[in-house]
Symmetry: C2
Subunit: 334 residues, 2 copies
DNA sequence: ATGAAAGCGCTAACAT
DNA sequence: ATGTTAGCGCTTTCAT
């Protein structure tokens, strides 16, 4: 393994000089610098991270907390975050956590054993100990979810976005609109509120029977939720799903029952994941600016790590209603 | 930050003794041991990983090399690998690499800067320097892909699986069978070989015009590939796609042209990703045992790291043809 | 502008 | 059974 001293010896300088070159410090003779760079290229030398971390007393590592069964939306999100983080010189460590408290505890333990520079949340952790630790150690943290923990957050306005989606259905003449919600996450709760808000604004009576709570944000859960809904009653002409994956599962259940989309039932999703534009029919949905959310959360964390605190804690990014083929006017009979 | 010397001083012993306790070595007085443990608990001391890694010359970290735009199949795979690795006491570091040589070089540099215990490949790297480095440093490596680099591998028989898929179409009476291939990866080449093998076995003449090479394993690429195919000729009744995501894109293109699946054209995918069972029609495909591939590659790497080498370098796991709704008998006219 | 030297926190070989 | 010592590879004063 080639080390900084090897390079120094080969060039005939001290390790300090090589270090200065590596870190772009000034006060280095241009000629020597060229020499050093040449040898570095020849030998393929790369600084040892552990040694650097130790002397610098930090790890250049960011923890990313993400659900164990992360969906396509989270996948797209974390890939942009990872890329951004690497470009800032961090590496990222993933903490996959299940939706139970023992898994959360385990995650916290692993978190402690690392000397993280910062943490990005793509998942909602319930455990107060988790937040207490981060608070005590002053480790910077940024979230991409709604939360009540006064954590710097980059997100969209989930309530308004949901309301926009439901209003789209209302504008098409739908009155009996069901919702497949996912209330185990607070953003799911916000989306449910948005659904109710739109109904209220249109003077449509709320009806709890028209709402099912899916246990996960997966297609499978969406399929079961829709089956459940269809068992209760067929007296609805539209569905609003709290995520595209839920919507995809719901569509499967409808198709299995011989229902036509959107002629019999219109459906609106949430997220605008890649695949939604490939389904048949193409899914109408609320687009989250995934790329921007990822980019800005990485940037925000980077700023925090370097001691810059933004005035506003929460950044709200714009969403967009993408109208495709899964929604149409309600038929007069309905 | 509390260090091992702090603990040693508080208890009145040497750092070595504390180290011995931390690492469960014997030859420590039971009483002292208890003392030390007590202080450790009180102070919340956690060993500094960077320091430990440096002196031990290893990191307890496994690198996972994965395509930048990893697809659903790889996502499911790496999730199971990660889980398994954590259970063995490693943490995993992801190396997202694009399909170009500068990205591969960057990946190699990052790889060098970490003292990885091992590497798992979910992506094919072309650069010889990459393999040379791993070889020189004797870092254990396990792959989940076909390759010619004599690397221990866990995979399925891609050629045979492809052949099985095409035989399924042939058995349904199809003769004009196209393929959407992805030859930039060697497993893609194997699948193409399997396609040709099946045709040969059925006495159907090979026709290069019936094969398109997609540039990526994505739905988008699949859609363009199918458009291309349809532009060339409509004289085919079935398609074999090198992945489910390609198939999904291809289906989109067919639907857009008003073609019915499977009545007008049958289609077979490859991988059996979750979503394939939600599409309309449900996709007939070749299932890869994702969970087993993930589990066994993590286990194999763990063994290698601990100096155990298996006799057989490559493990071939069984695939399975999953017949669903996207394939049916060829109509007599075709 | 550059080198010498100290030290980050830990482990292991070597004493005792 | 336990302490002493010597690094691991790097950065950073502090000299010169």
């Amino acid at each position: 393994m080639v080390s900084i001293t090897d390079i120094a010896q080969k060039v005939g300088v001290s390790p300090s000089t090589v270090s200065r070159v590596m870190n772009g410090k000034k006060y280095v003779n241009a000629e020597k610098k060229a020499q050093i760079l040449k040898i570095i290229a020849e030998t393929g030398y790369v600084p040892n991270k552990a040694a650097r971390d130790m002397v610098l007393q930090r790890s250049f590592t960011v923890g990313i907390v993400i659900p164990d069964t992360f969906n396509v939306f989270q996948r797209q999100l974390f890939s942009t975050i990872e890329r951004q983080l690497v470009s800032f010189g961090y590496r990222s460590l993933f903490f996959f956590v299940k939706f139970d408290s023992s898994s959360e505890k385990q995650c916290l333990d692993r978190l402690k054993s690392e000397k993280l520079d910062g943490v990005i949340m793509l998942h909602e952790i319930k455990s107060p100990e988790f937040y207490a630790y981060l608070d005590n150690t002053k480790i910077p943290i940024v979230s991409t979810l709604c939360n009540d923990n006064a954590i710097p957050t980059i997100k969209i306005d989930d309530k308004q976005a949901a309301s926009d989606g439901v209003h789209h259905l209302i504008n098409l003449g739908h009155r009996r609109i069901t919702m497949i919600a996912g209330c185990h996450f607070s953003f799911g709760l916000r989306r449910l509120e948005g659904y109710y808000q739109a109904l209220d604004e249109a003077g449509i009576e709320r009806n709890e029977k028209l709402v099912v709570d899916a246990q996960q944000y997966s297609s499978e859960a969406g399929m079961y939720a829709m089956r459940d809904l269809l068992l209760r009653s067929r007296d609805f002409s539209a569905v609003f799903a709290a995520s595209d994956e839920l919507a995809i599962g719901a569509m499967r259940a409808m198709l299995d029952e011989g229902l036509r989309i959107p002629e019999d039932i219109s459906i609106v999703g949430f997220d605008d994941i890649d695949i939604s534009n490939y389904f048949h029919p193409r899914l109408t949905t609320l687009r989250q600016p995934i790329f921007e959310i990822g980019e800005q959360s990485a940037l925000k964390l980077h700023r925090y790590i370097n001691g810059q605190t933004d005035a506003e804690c929460t950044t709200v990014l714009p969403h967009k209603l993408i109208i495709r083929e899964s929604t149409c006017s309600a038929t007069p009979s309905r």
